[in-house]
């Protein structure tokens, strides 16, 4: 019986996930980023924001898919959430398991360290001096996490703090818990 998040992730990946060629996803994402850069005239800050927004839209729907496939129990603490995200969530969709680390003192911040990033295969940032300092290539993942967690009553902020494409040693995303959202009744319901 699958118990640890890692085992759950492996099992779901092997049985309940339809597969597609990884390069199709990689190249599609590449063409999205390239198109965005062209549309915004190489204003990489805006591109980052747009990628985050797109990720948010993906995330709010991705969480349904995730819950349907993974069928895990409710997370009791933020640490559980982090484990599930890294071992099950990323495994199911991107077949990677980033490591969770660098917990802050109050257990409200953690880092996801990616040793491989399928979205950034074959990618080199443009050589115009700006991209290397401003563009977070995989920023869509931050939006996805933000959107998905918001749908399960957890408001977080996610951003990359280092990226191999920019020349750093690792690709690291910092996730911060802002607050747990309370369920709000729609206006007009008694």
């Amino acid at each position: 019986m699958a118990r640890t998040p890692r085992q759950v992730g492996e099992e779901v990946w092997k049985t309940r996930v339809e597969k597609v060629n990884a390069e199709l996803v990689t190249l599609t994402y590449g063409s999205v980023v390239a198109q965005l850069c062209k549309d915004f005239g190489n204003d990489y800050i805006q591109v980052n924001e747009q990628l985050d927004k797109m990720g948010y839209n993906i995330g709010i729907r991705l969480i349904e898919d995730f819950l349907a496939r993974a069928n895990t129990s409710r997370c009791r603490t933020f640490k559980d959430t982090a484990e599930i995200i890294s071992k099950v969530g990323f495994k199911i969709f991107l077949n990677i398991t980033p490591t969770v680390g660098n917990w802050s003192q109050d257990n409200k911040q953690f880092s996801l360290i990616f040793d491989e990033n399928p979205l950034a295969d074959f990618v080199e940032l443009p050589d115009d001096g700006k991209a290397v300092n401003e563009l977070w290539y995989s920023n869509i993942l931050c939006g996805v996490l933000r959107g998905a967690l918001e749908m399960v009553q957890t408001q977080v902020e996610a951003q990359f703090i280092s990226d191999v494409l920019r020349g750093h040693e690792t690709t690291e995303m910092r996730v911060t818990l802002i607050r747990i959202l309370e369920d709000e009744m729609p206006v007009g319901d008694d």
């Binding site: 060629n21 729907r61 991705l62 898919d65 991107l94």
Partner: protein, 228 residues
């Protein structure tokens, strides 16, 4: 070449004084004959050194579907009509197709020869490209009877359309324009300029059946005729 990194001899050869100012790596140089093979330029690991074959060649279909959904939604914002939207999607596909061609040629074609005849190339697309990118060979390849320069590739269930639902007022739109863009890029890359468009021909058995109409440039038709 990467093994030389472990030792950084103190002396610098006269060959590379200007490179001494480069940031992180010191220059592995040596003047002894046995190490004449040493690289004398600073060697950063670029993406060209990485292995072409990924460790895990597959991702979930959901990842592609979500991403493609976002592509479609984003394209909808800036375009005014269905034609423009198909062109935009085709452009995304073109970008992908250029790279898919390179990858597939490197991996699939063991003989190293590239196709020079139209039929051979279309069959390569049908089996090679379709199989590596979409997981299954395309379902049929047909030549148009009336027009000499038109061919049709038929796919009963294009995966890009699997999770897209088109509203009735836009029923002319077929998001397989993305796939058509991939095919167009492959054809252009093989020096067979063409225009490829996607048309849906739903049947009872295959409601998503799509025909990719390949209209070759007159240049290609001339060349085919000459080679025959």
């Amino acid at each position: 070449m990467l093994q030389n990194r472990s030792s950084y001899p103190a002396q610098q050869s006269a060959v590379a004084p200007s490179l001494a100012s480069s940031s992180e790596k010191s220059i592995p140089t040596s003047l002894t004959p046995s190490s004449l093979r040493t690289v004398t330029t600073p060697r950063k690991v670029t993406i060209y050194d990485r292995n072409l074959n990924r460790r895990a060649p597959e991702l979930s279909l959901a990842a592609f579907a979500f991403l493609f959904n976002e592509v479609v939604q984003y394209s909808q914002k800036n375009v005014k009509g269905i034609q423009e939207m198909e062109i935009k999607l085709s452009e995304y596909g073109y970008h992908v197709g250029q790279r898919v061609l390179e990858l597939t040629v490197v991996r699939e074609i063991k003989s190293g020869k590239r196709e020079t005849r139209v039929l051979g190339l279309l069959q390569f697309i049908n089996t090679g490209i379709w199989k590596s990118v979409f997981g299954k060979p395309a379902d049929a390849l047909e030549k148009s009877k009336d027009q000499e320069d038109e061919y049709m590739i038929i796919d009963n269930d294009p995966i890009v359309n699997k999770y897209i639902s088109v509203p009735r007022e836009m029923s002319q739109l077929n998001c397989a324009a993305f796939q058509a863009g991939i095919v167009e890029a492959v054809l252009d890359g093989c020096q067979f300029p063409a225009r490829v468009t996607a048309h849906s021909v739903p049947t009872d058995l295959f409601p998503l059946k799509t025909v990719f109409l390949v209209k070759l440039d007159p240049v290609v038709v001339e060349r085919e005729r000459y080679m025959r």
